[in-house]
Symmetry: C3
Subunit: 262 residues, 3 copies
Amino acid sequence: MNDTGDYLDQMRRTAPLVHNITNYVAMNIMANVLLATGAAPAMVHAREEVGEFAGLAQALSINIGTFDPFWAEAMEIAAGVMIKADKPWILDPVGVGATSYRRQVCGRLLAMRPTIIRGNASEVLALAGLQAGGRGPEATDSVAAAEAAARDLAQGTGAVVAVSGPVDYITDGRTSRRVANGDPMMTRVTALGCSLNGVIAAFSVGQPVLQATVAAMAYYGLAGEQAAATARGPGAFAAAFLDRLYHITPADLTQSAKVTPA
Amino acid sequence: MNDTGDYLDQMRRTAPLVHNITNYVAMNIMANVLLATGAAPAMVHAREEVGEFAGLAQALSINIGTFDPFWAEAMEIAAGVMIKADKPWILDPVGVGATSYRRQVCGRLLAMRPTIIRGNASEVLALAGLQAGGRGPEATDSVAAAEAAARDLAQGTGAVVAVSGPVDYITDGRTSRRVANGDPMMTRVTALGCSLNGVIAAFSVGQPVLQATVAAMAYYGLAGEQAAATARGPGAFAAAFLDRLYHITPADLTQSAKVTPA
Amino acid sequence: MNDTGDYLDQMRRTAPLVHNITNYVAMNIMANVLLATGAAPAMVHAREEVGEFAGLAQALSINIGTFDPFWAEAMEIAAGVMIKADKPWILDPVGVGATSYRRQVCGRLLAMRPTIIRGNASEVLALAGLQAGGRGPEATDSVAAAEAAARDLAQGTGAVVAVSGPVDYITDGRTSRRVANGDPMMTRVTALGCSLNGVIAAFSVGQPVLQATVAAMAYYGLAGEQAAATARGPGAFAAAFLDRLYHITPADLTQSAKVTPA
């Protein structure tokens, strides 16, 4: 597909079932984001069923925000199912730089070679530092440093790596894109980054991953721009954001996506 | 009581404490739904206290959405307390058809004979298939097939069985009702079905269960209709839905309930 | 600082990282409340990392709403880290009177001497009853009885004790204040009390605790008053409340805080 809006259109036609193993803060808004977008969300994590359920889903999102060893085990089981079936899965290494336990579990998940990795600049830098021979996180998490780390990470793992920020950066290690859609108010509503993982996963089902990720992030940022145009604060913004996700059409997205080569 | 609105009136006068053992996605919106409705919600699940707490509550709602063995144990303990005290409890067998673990735990809960069972057509069909000699889920989950399964399930367990859908179907195995209140936007906000369980539980305290369930579902659907009349998308709808739950009066409900024999 | 608004101003300048170990119902709204207020929320609880993470935070809030033994252990580990580093932590003893397990765990946390304790009148009475030689909860939880219990509790533990109600009461056992800001609609949205804990924790970083707690509660109540002036129900109110937290300035707070000696 040549056109950003086509990815939205295709996703809505198939309404993929996205299996999410995410944090407690994000679960409700993430499910609402996926429903507003047009996908089918499900949250399942018990070791007794997580692998069987992953077999039913078209895509998987993993987020370590409030995890513990039970949840980490579920993440590895479900990711293993997706890998065997060649279905896309995304890793969000929330706060990976903060504790050694996060680095340890992310190291294991990274070794499973996620289809997509999405984080902020600091997380991508920290994650790149976990690779064999990788650099440690830089003292200053500049965009330039994160971009180099993202390319390293993509080349080392085979993942598409997406760095969220005022301008997003998405790379497969060779080809890179920038997405300039978005609004600062998106950082004042919790778990919108977490929820984006599910949208990227949904867009990636059966599609070229780099382009699908770019389209998902443009769509998401555009909803943020449109919501910010009318909302007076973060409470009104959150509701308006869901409404815009629901109403943006493929034609809207094609017209307003701010995607450039990088 | 002969009048749908009387059940709302009676529930608000007693403001029953509803104990909910539900999924992580639903917890916040479910508590807000119960507060807006006029009941008192509580979420408690630790094995160390769940039985003692159930003893304080007037009703119990159980939902297996994001359960695991610890939660399943809590559900069985709390249900046992309600049964001994002859207090109503409701089971929502979320996605029971999806995994063998769900079928196994729902089979155990079903054997405890819930006061009320609520699910969508597929869930009711899957649950009916768990009964000794029951049929497996049909390939096509038609309303007609779900209605027969609901009656089977009600007769086999003694529960009032409610099938949520464009038109809801409620039966105790002999007497059946249809409730036509509702709006499709209710399916675009996560966990509104889960939250309804608590409302049904609250309405059922000290009341004839079939009629109370019918009244709760008419009330809930009416709030959805009214919210959809003004909301432009699922974010605005969710807020408006809570506002309508809060403002609908017993007289409004009696006037606008769409209940018919089935 | 002499001025209520100065505490808001100072908190926003430092944007402290507040570590929250709270209940599942509260997590999302609590994170949104802290973001709207201007602080940085994080939710972390796994025993494998909770102590290390507490070391990175400026303040800690603990709420036992939906806890279990794993969570109770995390609370004790994190509180221990704050105590060693002389950083503020707040305890919300949700429903402490309801079960013996709650009384047992709260007794252990109380013995660690929280910086701040916040609850409603019944909770403060129940908690005061846990102290050696303390009185049991009174049959009628009057404001007067709760105020005496709050002073007892403050003197026995060294904590600032805050009693939430139509008029809040805050005491360190010697000096006491009343805060009259607020609106009854705040009780119709779940977890606003839980979320307040994080705001108090954020305000208390590096500040005199009694005054910071008073300022946080005046700020919070003022947002409730302003939101109630325009919202027609609890759904609209919740969004408007976040918007007001975001927009209230230090000058607004100084002008509209209703604080009196007690």
